[in-house]
């Protein structure tokens, strides 16, 4: 599999360290979070496997293109629209979470609209770029940010304040029945490969996806999940951990770099994770806008030869995000993301069934093309 594919999977995993996933997990720390994580590793990697395998059968084709060939119009249009909205919400949740983080920890006196506008303006035009350019952007920004983030994780693991007794204590809850909310939060980590519904157009050559590749992804995901869940517990203890709003921010603030220019790791963590959040929003909204292009014919909006059609979704994206930034508070956002994750665990397995039908019908399409 091309290295670009792993970027998609990786970003979705590490971006959620900062979002509400750890908060949801820690909320259910004595109520089946650990067992939910174990179950989600199995379920998530199964989904990743089948999802990716499906797309390797159709190199260079996006899901809407496949649907166009195999399904009726009454199904196709609403379904793509629903997908577009789903991906928009996924991006928006990251956006709002990060806006809240910035106002909480970096610039408390700045108006919240201004903060979210910073992220929105930086990201929004990038969503209109070609798919290959999105990948190149991802690669460069990852190269800039990931080494430092890994360094912070290493610092966390080697810190003397990390108490392994707490970790062991938390791990003892593995015998509880898996919690559904915790499961869906973990499951969301695996949905990075679902971005292939658009990004598959970049992979024009036949890709290999077998045991070796899925093992790598499972290994990375287990490491991510472990870090996400157990490091905050190791630093903060099990008692009262469910009350933390941003467990990872609190954890990174307990790290110090004694001899560095910037002593509090929190700020480095915050500013560099901003890059990951940026990429996460970029990917989700790129998928969303590209999906919208299949539903609406943006090409027909012209003014003196200038095609402004592709820019039409942008005001909506900005408007809706700003509205929700104003309306929601942290608790509501937490609940909303929980509900969103819960919907996705039904939605994506259903998509696998759809894929099964597409694959069968594509065989007929191919036969028809050959004759």
């Amino acid at each position: 599999m091309s290295r670009y594919y792993y970027y998609l999977v990786l970003i979705n995993m590490i971006a959620n360290v900062i979002a509400s996933v750890p908060a949801i997990l820690l909320h259910f720390h004595d109520d089946g979070a650990v067992s939910a994580m174990i179950v989600s590793v199995v379920a998530g990697s199964t989904l990743v496997f089948f999802f990716t395998r499906f797309f390797t059968h159709f190199p260079g084709m996006t899901l809407p293109e496949l649907l166009q060939k195999t399904t009726a119009k009454w199904f196709y249009n609403p379904f793509i629209l629903v997908l577009a909205i789903t991906w928009f919400i996924a991006g928006m949740i990251t956006l709002i979470t990060y806006t809240f983080l910035l106002i909480r920890y970096l610039t408390p006196e700045m108006p919240i609209i201004q903060i979210s506008l910073t992220i929105l303006l930086a990201v929004i035009l990038g969503c209109l770029m070609k798919t290959d350019r999105v990948f190149y952007t991802i690669e460069i920004i990852l190269l800039l940010t990931v080494p430092l983030i890994i360094l912070i994780f290493i610092k966390a693991y080697t810190n003397e304040n990390l108490r392994w007794e707490f970790v062991k204590e938390a791990a003892l809850y593995f015998n509880q029945f898996p919690n559904l909310n915790a499961f869906s939060a973990c499951f969301f980590l695996y949905l990075g490969s679902a971005n292939l519904i658009i990004f598959n157009r970049f992979f024009k050559n036949k890709q290999n996806f077998g045991v070796k590749q899925i093992t790598l992804i499972v290994a990375i995901s287990i490491m991510t999940l472990f870090t996400t869940y157990f490091i905050p517990i190791g630093f903060n203890g099990v008692e009262g951990i469910e009350k933390l709003v941003y467990p990872w921010i609190t954890t990174s603030d307990s790290l110090r770099m004694k001899f560095s220019l910037i002593e509090r790791v929190l700020f480095i963590f915050l500013l560099f994770y901003l890059g990951i959040a940026f990429l996460s929003i970029l990917i989700h909204w790129h998928v969303s806008i590209e999906l919208l292009k299949y539903v609406f014919n943006f090409e027909k909006f012209k003014f003196k030869g200038f095609k402004f059609g592709v820019f039409l979704p942008i005001p909506f994206y900005i408007g809706v995000s700003l509205y929700f930034v104003r309306q929601l508070n942290e608790y509501q956002l937490f609940r909303l993301s929980g509900i969103f994750y819960n919907i996705l665990i039904i939605f994506f397995p259903m998509m696998l069934i759809l894929f099964f039908f597409i694959k069968r019908r594509m065989k007929n399409v191919k036969k028809a093309e050959q004759n």
Partner: protein
Amino acid sequence: MSSEEILLWIKEQFKNTTELTQKTLDYDNKHALLFYVKSLIDQESLQKLIIKPFFEMANENQFKAYLIALPQFQKVESKEQAVSEVTNGNTLIVIQHDLYLIDLQLATNNQVSTTSVETTIHGSNIALSENLMTNINLIRTYYHQASLSIEYFTKGEVNQQKIAIIYDKELVNTKALEIIKQKLQQLDQQVISASTELNNYLNDKRFSLFPQMLMTERPDRIVYNIAGGKIALILDGNAQALIAPAVFFDFMTTMEDNYHTLFISLFVRILRYAGLFVSLLLPGLYVGITSFAPEVFRTELALTVAGSRIGVPFSSFVEVLFMLFFMELLLEASIRLPKAVSATATTVGGLILGSAVTEAALASNIMVIIVSAVAISTFVIPVNELAFTIRIVRLILLLITSVFGLAGLTLGLYGLIMYLVYLDSFGEPYLRLFNYQKAKKSSEGQA
């Protein structure tokens, strides 16, 4: 068309000027008519190659055969060609209704100079000359391949300047070559006087910030790039060549990177990229940290910065802008000033930017350090074109930071990277990691 008509037409073209010299040679039944522009030709070779043999030859036929045998001989194909060749320094000779063109051009600009913009310690120190033929000669002496192709275009409706496109037929990026040729054909400028002008004319964008062609004066760099499949454009009368397609990393390399040992060139490269980031981010970082989030720095450092700002009546943004403004003025002044005066300018400027400004409490001490660090690190960027661009981008990032704070600066940087990735240079992505890999079987396509 008979030769008389051509002659009449040529005379008509030069009617109102005194430029065209007409000379009749007449001796022993031998007749020849010479037309040339006196200021353009080498009179010594005219005497040695044409006038002297004329008087020594037995008859006209022998002289004709002699002329055709000369290496400077050119055929007359049309009247327009004849006129343009005469304005290029050819001598037109008429013997018994036959026309001969002999190239006797006197070029005073064919001296090969030493590098002045891209100086290096190792490697060749020869720069291009201002004469196209000398330049092509230079490139050919560095690149011995039959596949090296050179195509000529004449552009600029008024001044009719010659442009040479140089590439290796077998290695060249054919997509880029087609785009460049097509754009050159569409080019309809009145006057083209410098090859770097083409940088603006050949990209379709009206508003462009980053250079999409690499300007260079070093033949070794041209040769290196041609061997890498790129295309060089040289305009006659210019000591600079343009190389296209150029990607961002081209602007961050010097030829010396290949001449050093691995670790030295690695070190120098790291230094250069650090310089790039410092010159881009430092002013913004100062504003972001002093005005928006002083708690980011460790306490001692934050206090030092705040202490140094005591008595400064401006906000940090105005302070940075004020100092950067003077630094940019100083930079610009030292380019434009005559050499005799420029020393004064730098001394006075250095004094203002150095101590006086802090003593007058118009800027903090740390600000002075930052401005000088920024100035120095801008000079580390090896290609001048990019350094100019960085100066503008720096101001944009400063502006973004003063509105949106540190998060704005970070996102501004990411946005800048995204913009660079979005850019194209003649069909090649402007910024992409592992750009050099030209594997035949890449695992992914382009979308």
